[in-house]
């Protein structure tokens, strides 16, 4: 047994040596200071900021279930960074966007967050609200870097560092129901169908529709579906049986297309309104295209990509030049808006000579009326509320760039004003 004892003794000695080594500062992990420095231009800097670059992180999904959204958001943000850099950067520094694709896998998402955390000042994009929820305690207590999730669930509100841009799903749904009430003849005593995804998005939206329905004396007929369901025949039959006068759909583009297609074909001729995630321009090329143009609308937290504003027109032109052949959708607007908000916060932080995470967080809270150029202003002063309660109603239309035409300009429904999540 001597060799064993030797080994144990050797191990102990080596361990002691190791502890001595780290104590002497050989491990780069050993604690030294708080990481804040004063850099070029007398600006305080922290994680992710050097004298030359400001590094931002993007945790996206380009190979998983949200690939369509992730691709547009990421490319728009890459475009934003390119343009800012071409114009001289922010605070005398160039922006760098480090993108990690997690493919909607929680393990990869968490790993990517952890990997980028020491390297970036914040995240312009984080797709997947469960993953945002997973890192929330860490963000709130330790990391304190800004995270702009590409999800509009009310459950993400409340953190001073994780900020939702635009109306949350519940508020958006209230606005959508308001559109049905005001313009599509839905009235007290009617039945309203609501087809929704299981999970955060759908259930948050359901809260909104129930609230709005109660206010208006309408009853909601629920149909819960899964993201893998592509055929809405059974749902349409059930809704028809229940005698609904209008339908809200809080699901993906495919489900919306199937629902509207089946409803049109089987004689359930009622208006259908979706949330902003329930439409993609690709749908107009499918069988359901004509029906969608006729009886489908959706609510969105900003004007569509094809809107008639200077920012939108320039973005469309630049985007098409940078990514020829890629379709135009509202993910581009969302990505661009988020990157713009982050850039604005950085500029403000620079003016305050504080580019640390705390400085950027503070700068963001002072953005009370940020206009992203898509029809509405964002108030980022209150972490407990969405940055805006406004929605626009959009109708699919092949003849417009991006396939979307605004039919109701930014508005907040009465019910949405009084609503608290």
């Amino acid at each position: 047994m001597t060799h064993r004892r030797q080994a144990v003794r050797g191990l102990a000695a080596a361990l002691a040596a190791l502890v001595a080594l780290t104590a002497a500062g050989c491990s780069s992990k050993a604690k030294t200071g708080d990481g804040k420095q004063t850099g070029a231009g007398g600006v305080q800097t922290g994680e992710g900021v050097t004298d030359k670059t400001i590094t931002l992180g993007a945790l996206t999904d380009m190979t998983g279930v949200y690939a369509t959204l992730g691709k547009s958001v990421t490319q728009a943000q890459q475009l934003y960074v390119k343009q800012v850099n071409a114009a001289g950067g922010i605070c005398g520094r160039q922006l760098a966007l480090t993108v990690r694709d997690h493919g909607y896998d929680p393990q990869k998402a968490l790993a990517a967050y952890t990997e980028l955390e020491p390297k970036v000042v914040g995240y312009t994009q984080f797709i997947g609200s469960p993953f945002v929820a997973a890192v929330k305690p860490q963000v709130d207590t330790k990391d304190k870097g800004l995270v702009l999730p590409q999800a509009w669930s009310a459950s993400l509100l409340g953190s001073p560092y994780i900020r939702v841009l635009g109306a949350t799903y519940d508020v958006e749904t209230i606005n959508a129901v308001d559109f049905l009430l005001k313009e599509k003849g839905l009235k007290s005593g009617d039945k309203l169908g609501h087809v929704y995804f299981e999970g955060d998005y759908g259930e948050n939206a359901l809260k909104g529709s129930k609230y709005a329905a109660e206010k208006a004396g309408v009853t909601v007929v629920e149909q819960k579906i899964k993201p893998t369901d592509n055929d809405m025949s059974a749902q349409v039959s059930a809704l028809k049986q229940a005698g609904v006068k209008a339908v809200v759909i809080s699901a993906g583009p495919r489900q919306a297309a199937s629902l509207v297609g089946v409803a049109a074909a089987t004689g359930l001729k009622v208006p259908v309104v979706g949330n902003n995630s329930a439409f993609a321009p690709q749908l107009l090329g499918t069988q359901a295209g004509p029906a969608l143009e006729k009886m489908y609308w959706f609510a969105s937290p900003s004007l569509p990509i094809g809107a008639d504003t200077p920012t939108a027109k320039k973005l469309v032109a630049d985007y098409q030049a940078a990514y020829p052949g890629d379709s135009l959708d509202n993910g581009i607007v969302a990505g661009w808006t988020a990157a713009g908000v982050f850039g604005e916060a950085l500029k403000k932080a620079c003016a305050d000579k504080d580019l640390t995470r705390e400085g950027v967080d503070k700068a963001l809270l002072s953005l009370k009326a940020h206009d992203a150029g898509f029809g509405m202003t964002h108030d980022l002063g209150d972490p407990k509320a969405p940055s805006s309660r406004e929605s626009v109603i959009i109708q699919p239309d092949k003849s417009v760039p991006g396939g979307m035409r605004t039919v109701r300009q930014p508005f907040v429904a009465e019910a949405a004003k009084s609503y608290t999540p």
């Binding site: 104590a23 992990k29 190979t63 999970g199």
Partner: protein
């Protein structure tokens, strides 16, 4: 273990012992040097290895195909939250001490396996594989719908484990000037669990039960004739494998600090099957190697996507790192069975020069089984 060492003689053993000691030393020292990303990746790999040990007992050693492993991981992870949660977040919680909750969660996973045993004991091979698919779907349905228990879509927060007065959370603990957060502390817990799980699985496979399991795999009828209670064994191995999965689930939950239902889907079950095939079916060391390989591969590719040829950074077209890792491990499964039956474990056995060095692959013909 010590008898084996003593019996096999000092001269031959010494280099191996030093090799193991060096490896152990490196593993123990890592938290002092690696940053959080690597430690987290390592912990994911350890959890994967633990789960792979379990399914290896079932699929590798007993020949029972299971696609429901992810379900039992979920039972472990959510079970831990249920027992340890204090109910302050509005979700059901019993507020038990962390260590007890962990033990109970593993037991719960075993119980869940036991409930499924009327099916697990009677079906075999592919039939069982598809029947266990049902577990995944049932699991997902419950995770999404039993809101009070699971927190629904966004999952629930995982209370930190405390053991002997040490709490495995992010409160900093300075060890030799190095701040120890959750991952650093959990690293040692993970190592201990993996070592324990490894030795236990090896013990099972080298002893009587292991031989019985292999006999069932190789010839079910002959095994029955020889007096092995086939159905009972199948059910028991299923329970054991579920408990391993439960333990892996607890560890994963502690690393994630949040349980997310999305994670426990079919893809995860398939990953575990890939692990044991790549590692080497029926081999304990192989299961660990396969677990580490499959869980580290995507993370490495993602991290170094900028530097690798063929793989392109997301958003630039071409093959994304996530896709590249799926190609690689899909190809690895096919290639291993084609060209390297026995998996990575076989590769390791071929290498050592000394012929008397004991193989890390336990097979029933090996004399070392007698040490028990």
């Amino acid at each position: 273990m010590s008898e084996t060492l003593a019996r096999s003689g000092l001269r031959v053993r010494t280099p191996a012992v030093y090799g193991w000691a060096a490896a152990a030393l490196v593993l123990v020292a890592l938290p002092f040097y690696l940053d959080r990303f690597w430690l987290q990746a390592g912990l994911f790999a350890m959890a994967a290895a633990l789960g792979a040990l379990g399914i290896n007992l079932l699929t590798g050693a007993t020949g029972q195909l299971s696609m429901g492993h992810a379900f039992f991981l979920a039972v472990g992870a959510y079970g831990y939250c249920l027992f340890a949660g204090d109910g302050t977040d509005g979700l059901a919680g019993l507020g038990l001490p962390g260590w007890l909750a962990a033990v109970l969660a593993v037991a719960l996973a075993g119980l869940a396996g036991g409930v499924f045993s009327p099916i697990a004991g009677r079906l075999r091979g592919a039939y069982l594989g598809i029947a266990t698919l049902a577990l995944i779907f049932i699991g997902q349905h419950v995770l999404f719908n039993a809101h009070d228990l699971t927190g629904g879509y966004n999952g629930r927060a995982v209370p930190p484990l405390s053991l002997f007065g040490l709490t495995f959370d992010d409160t900093e603990l300075l060890v030799a000037q190095v701040p120890f957060g959750a991952v650093e502390k959990l690293w040692y817990l993970g190592l201990a669990l993996l070592l324990g799980g490894f030795l236990f699985a090896r013990g099972v496979l080298r002893g009587r039960p292991g031989r019985a399991m292999n006999a069932i795999r190789d010839h079910r009828i002959a095994a029955g004739v020889m007096g092995i209670p086939v159905a009972r064994y199948r059910a028991a191995v299923f329970v054991l494998s579920s408990m391993y999965a439960g333990l892996a689930g607890v560890l994963l939950a502690l690393v994630f600090q949040r349980t997310v239902p999305e994670y426990f889907g079919m893809a995860l079950s398939l990953e575990y099957l890939a692990m044991i095939v790549i590692g080497g079916l029926g081999s304990v060391a192989g299961a660990v190697a396969g677990g580490v390989f499959v869980s580290l591969l995507p993370q490495l590719l993602t991290r170094y996507s900028d530097a690798l040829p063929l793989v392109s950074a997301p958003g630039t077209g071409g093959i994304a790192p996530g896709e590249a890792s799926r190609y690689l491990y899909g190809a690895a499964v096919v290639a291993v069975v084609l060209f390297l039956p026995g998996g990575l474990a076989r590769l390791a056995v071929r290498k050592p020069k000394s012929p008397t060095t004991q193989s890390p692959t336990p097979t029933i013909t090996e004399p070392s089984g007698e040490t028990r």
